[in-house]
């Protein structure tokens, strides 16, 4: 437990010491959402129609961007080898890094989402559902993304292609995340979608660390 917490603490500290880490993910999230009205025009009813989807797509892109470097800097400075040589299973190391990453980026995304919902004309009474969906969905994104982040280490052609295969895995999270919001906006209970998001999270928890650890091990060989 102590080494696990040491990793979480170090990574969160790095994220905050580097100060702008969390802030920048948030800023990207905000800017990506704001870009849409430029692209699709500012009709309030169209915006309201696509609002939940845009917030989700932006959250997905933001957390993907931040994920890219999850193992990269450790890989480049030789730290990843040392982490792999720590006297604990590599899966646990991965889990600690993912947890720290989520605390520093995914959690803040979920917290500010209602503000962007306002911008995109999402009805305020679905905000709790939006936040709940993001809280369940973003850790899944982090866990799946960790696999991709491991695969692109020292990437040659193969790694990149596999990483691209990971992106489509985000689609189920997106689909049910958006549907939770849409269903709630129509006044129905979003419970089914939220349950599915929870199921996806558990599945990702079960499989993600294994796959990511395998990816890291092949990168270090």
């Amino acid at each position: 437990m102590k080494p696990f917490l040491a990793i979480v603490r170090r990574d969160v500290r790095l994220a905050f010491r580097q100060g702008t880490d969390t802030l920048m993910t948030l800023a990207f999230f905000v800017i990506a959402v704001v870009l849409f009205p430029f692209g699709v025009g500012p009709e309030p009813n169209v915006l309201a129609r696509i609002g939940g989807g845009v917030v989700w797509v932006a959250a997905l892109l933001a957390s993907m961007l931040a994920l890219e470097r999850l193992f990269q800097t450790d890989y480049e400075d030789g730290g990843l080898e040392l982490l792999a040589l720590a006297p604990m299973p590599l899966q646990i190391v991965v889990l600690a890094k993912v947890l720290a990453h989520w605390l520093a980026t995914g959690l803040p995304l979920a917290v500010v989402a209602p503000m962007l919902g306002v911008l995109m004309n999402v009805p305020p009474d679905v905000f709790p559902v939006l936040v709940a969906a993001l809280l369940l969905g973003t850790p899944t994104l982090s866990l799946i993304g960790a696999i991709g982040a491991g695969l692109i280490l020292g990437a040659r052609r193969g790694g990149v292609l596999l990483a691209l295969l990971v992106l489509p895995l985000f689609i189920p999270v997106l689909v049910f995340g958006v549907s939770a919001v849409e269903v709630a906006a129509q006044g129905f209970s979003p419970k089914a979608s939220l349950l599915i998001l929870g199921g996806l999270l558990l599945a990702a928890l079960a499989l993600g660390p294994w796959a990511a650890a395998a990816a890291i091990r092949q990168a270090l060989e």
């Binding site: 102590k2 080494p3 040491a6 990793i7 170090r10 500290r13 790095l14 010491r17 580097q18 800097t73 450790d74 480049e76 400075d77 030789g78 730290g79 080898e81 040392l82 982490l83 792999a84 040589l85 720590a86 006297p87 604990m88 299973p89 270090l220 060989e221």
Partner: protein, 220 residues
Amino acid sequence: MSLFTGHDLICIRGERRVFAAVRFSLPAGGALLLVGANGTGKTSLLRLMAGLGRPADGAIRWNDVDIAEDPESHNARLHFVGHGDAVKPALTARENVAFWAALRGGGDLPSPAEAGFAKAGPDAGLAAFALGPLASVPGRYLSAGQRRRVNLARLAAAPAPLWLLDEPVSALDSDSVARLRNAIARHRAGGGMVALSSHGGLEIPDAVTLDLTDFAAAAA
């Protein structure tokens, strides 16, 4: 007494055999010096010893147990110092060392080498490489040699019986080389083992030398 051995080792990198039929045996307190021209496989062999790669053939054993059988126990007994220094620019020198020490359970591993150092912990590590005055300087401000010393400080901060050092003296000034020589001597006196590669610049008394140039031919 522990014993670290390898036999009939074949290493393949980039679809090419780097060496074949390599064997080594390292008793407690022993030292193994890997030499050889560039590209003969010193780094590759050290990584096999750490378990970062698997030999294409042959086996590496700790007390006659293949290290691949229980990689975590093997990790717990070794320190690896590679080409990368793993110094985070945003953390101070002390924070860097403290993190790696914490990761290994803070030195509460029973180890024969522990006796070699009066006491362990990040500050002991910093002191062993004269980094005290730099303790609160962020990694970003360190020169090449200073970063290397931060990397080496791990060795003293959290004891482990087996040290695997890949060209540890590169970028070190002569005082630091002397400190490293000292650290190795104390480590060995406490029963620790060390395997290191070098192109010269560090004499280790009664080290067994393994010239990998001799095994390249066997590989071709």
